[in-house]
Each structure stands twice: as structure tokens, then as C-alpha cells.
Symmetry: C2
Subunit: 237 residues, 2 copies
């Protein structure tokens, strides 16, 4: 099937957000630097993000009840502040720092690419971030979502099938009329397993400028694009 035919079948593009649309690493490092915390900003950002999957796993396993990412981020933050021996922050400062995840900067191509894709498709988030976080982020960064979908809507975290299939259900579509767009092969693998189309976005410096991640193409994805503008080019938007 050629690209035009496939592009015609798709009705909704659902986007992973952290890493795919916004640059969490540089945004967190920037704020940590601005607060003059006596820590390595790169390592601090990486440690915070590294706590994310295990924290969600505690929810998925039932060890924790349903918990928003804002609250999981705070639990991880309290741990890493200890780990990095940061002891002088007030409760107000900790609350403010925790909301850095609401203030992540978009990659330079995201707003322009999304705006083009929006002219042809319904574009929504499908993120484990909570609705308030994603809304604050979109407002600050100018991300032109038609709709904000989140694990919070489905009360399951990705990669639970209820999240991917939930997008199709919300829009009364078949799974293959929805395409997940993400910079993470594992997220795409889980979406594909329940029938969604998938597009991989290269974000070689997701983990910071000092380490380049593997961005090799997987033949299993429907599309592979350098960035969101590249995806708009492929889809003829």
C-alpha cells in the first residue's frame, strides 16, 4: 500500500508526549540550574525520569492505588533530593520544582509539525501525564491539541491495551484508523499489538546532548520520521 492510501485511512493521530513532543531532559536541567541546586543537572534529570517506569509499575501491579503522575513525580523527587543530598528546599519550592513537568519545552519542530497535521487529522495526546499537566504544558508551549487524552481518562497507564484502544473508542473508530506517534519503540510495539498504526519519531538526544540514543528504524512501524515536521511531510499535510 502506498503512503497516500495509508494516510487516507488514518483519522486520529495520538501522540506520546514526554520525549516525543517535549524535551524533558533539557527543560528539567535548565530549571535545576536556575534554582542553583548543588547537583549535576544532567544526572538529576536522568534520575528523576528513571524513577518514572518503576513508579508506574507500582500502580500497574496494584501495590499503589490509582495515582496521578504529578503525585508519582513528587514521590520520586523526594527520593532523589535525598539521594543528591539536597536538604534545604521548602515545601513551596518542592511543589514548584515538581511542576517543572508542566513547563517542559517543545522540541523546535513540534508546534509547526502539529499545526500542519491538525489541518488533516484530529490530533490528541496519549500520555501517562495527567490531564492538568498536559493542559498546562500545551498552554505554555503552544501545542495545538484538538483533545487531551491521558492515562487519567482511562485510569490505566500505557502500555495497558485499554489506553491505545481507548483512543479508538473515544472517537468511535477501528483501531487501525488511529496512529500512535512516539519516540519509543516499546510504546509503538504495544500499540501495534492491539491494531493501531504506528509512527516512530527520532529523538536522538532525548536523554541529553551527551548521550545519543539508538534511533534505527523498525520495519514494523507504519512510518519513520526524523521529527514531527517530517511526519507532516510523509503524510502530505
Amino acid at each position: 500500500m502506498n503512503n497516500n492510501k495509508v494516510a487516507d485511512e488514518i483519522r486520529v493521530l495520538a501522540f506520546d508526549v514526554f520525549g516525543t513532543i517535549v524535551d524533558w531532559h533539557q527543560s528539567i536541567a535548565r530549571e535545576v540550574r536556575a534554582m542553583s541546586l548543588d547537583v549535576d543537572p544532567d544526572k538529576f534529570a536522568l534520575a528523576w525520569r528513571a524513577g518514572y517506569q518503576p513508579a508506574m509499575q507500582r500502580v500497574a501491579s496494584g501495590e499503589l492505588g490509582w495515582t496521578l503522575i504529578d503525585d508519582l513525580h513528587r514521590m520520586i523527587l523526594d527520593d532523589i533530593l535525598k539521594q543528591f543530598s539536597v536538604t534545604h528546599l521548602s515545601e513551596y519550592q518542592k511543589r514548584h520544582l515538581n511542576k517543572v513537568w508542566h513547563r517542559l519545552d517543545a522540541w523546535p519542530d513540534s508546534v509547526a509539525g502539529l499545526s500542519r497535521l491538525k489541518s488533516r487529522y484530529t490530533i490528541c495526546t496519549l500520555s501517562n501525564g495527567n490531564i492538568g499537566l498536559l493542559t498546562d504544558m500545551a498552554k505554555r508551549a503552544g501545542l495545538p491539541w484538538d483533545c487531551i487524552l491521558s492515562a487519567e481518562v482511562f485510569r490505566k497507564y500505557k502500555p495497558d491495551p485499554a489506553t491505545y484502544l481507548g483512543v479508538a473508542r473515544v472517537f468511535d473508530l477501528a483501531p487501525d484508523q488511529v496512529m500512535l506517534v512516539a519516540a519509543h519503540q516499546s510504546d509503538l510495539d504495544h500499540a501495534r499489538a492491539v491494531g493501531l498504526k504506528t509512527a516512530y519519531i527520532e529523538r536522538p538526544y532525548e536523554f541529553g546532548p551527551s548521550q545519543r540514543k539508538d534511533i534505527s528504524a523498525s520495519p514494523q512501524n507504519t512510518f519513520h520520521a526524523e521529527n514531527i515536521i517530517g511526519l507532516a511531510n510523509i503524510l502530505g499535510c
Copy 2:
């Protein structure tokens, strides 16, 4: 307290949609007329809308499990097609007609007013309409929501307190930092009862040009505005 002080306290404006932001009566009458159904378009629109509260009541009472508005609209449509002796529609035509609720036109002031309010506040829907319906409507009518919240997110229909308080919870705010904006005093009464601020919007011809509804001010509301542009004026946006 003066208007400026109150306006400063508010962080999120949550909008009722059917009747408040969009003109369901004229939009439905228009499509019914275009389909050349042999019915009075005004009476047909009113009958469809009149089935709405009783249908939601069947969900609230537990008689029906959780059911999306799209599906409730279809149940009501099947009833009124019988009632109006319309027997010739195909399944495809019925499905298309049912989605007229996704294609409602905005009142003439809505887009301009919301755009101004968005510059100062987070603006979201708080509607019993499902997420897909509200997203399709916003895309077609150009409604610039920051976020689409729906009974579907909370799995309760307004006026359940979980919906009004749900908006505050999503944005990590106190109830009085949220204002419900609606053309229906009853909706506002329920929101006020759990601590939200309230703004009444006059929509004298919500039920069609041939019947004017009571739009008198209630002193219990925080604000009373002629329309959404009027609300933007009051809030200094």
C-alpha cells in the same frame, strides 16, 4: 468584593456547551430540513432534546450502566423517528443524523469570546457530551478549548458533584478557583452548592426563535453576562 478581585481568584473557566456555546436547536432544525424529513424541524429538535434529561436519569439511577451521550442520543432518535412516523431512513442515514450533535454551530459570539478568555484563563468544557462529540464539534466550529472535560472523564453526568469537583481536582485547585459558565440556572446552582463560582449566560432563543426563555438574573451567581464576549468584558480580558 469588586470584579477585578474576583477575576483574579479564578484560574479555570469550565463551560457548559449545549445551549451555552452552541445553538443545538437551529443546528438540528437546519439538518432535519436539509434531509427533507417530513417533520416540523422545530418540534423534532425540541423532542430530541427533551429526551436528554430522562435518558441521563436512567444512567444516574442505575437502570442503565454507563452510557455515552452518542448512544443515548441514538436511543432517543429511534423513539422520536417512530413518534414522527419517519420510517424510510437507512441505518447509515440514522447514524449520520445522530452525529448532528457533533456538528452544532457555535453562537456568533462564542469563538471570539472564548479566544479572549483563553488569554487569561484555562478554558475547558464541562459537558455531558462525550469526548469524541466535543472534539469533533470544537474542530468544526473552531472552539479554542485548552482541554476537553466531559462526564465521560468522570463517569458521572452533571449535576453529580463529582463532575464540578472533578474540574478542580484535575487542575489541582480549590473549588472557588473554578467558575462554571452556563446558560442554565440549575447547572449553576449545583456547581455553586459544591463551591464553584458561577456565571450565567443569556441565551434567550436556546429553544428556537419562536419561544423566548426566561433569562432573568439570579443574585446568587458570581456574574451575569449577555454572551461570551460580555463575560470577557466583565472579566477584563
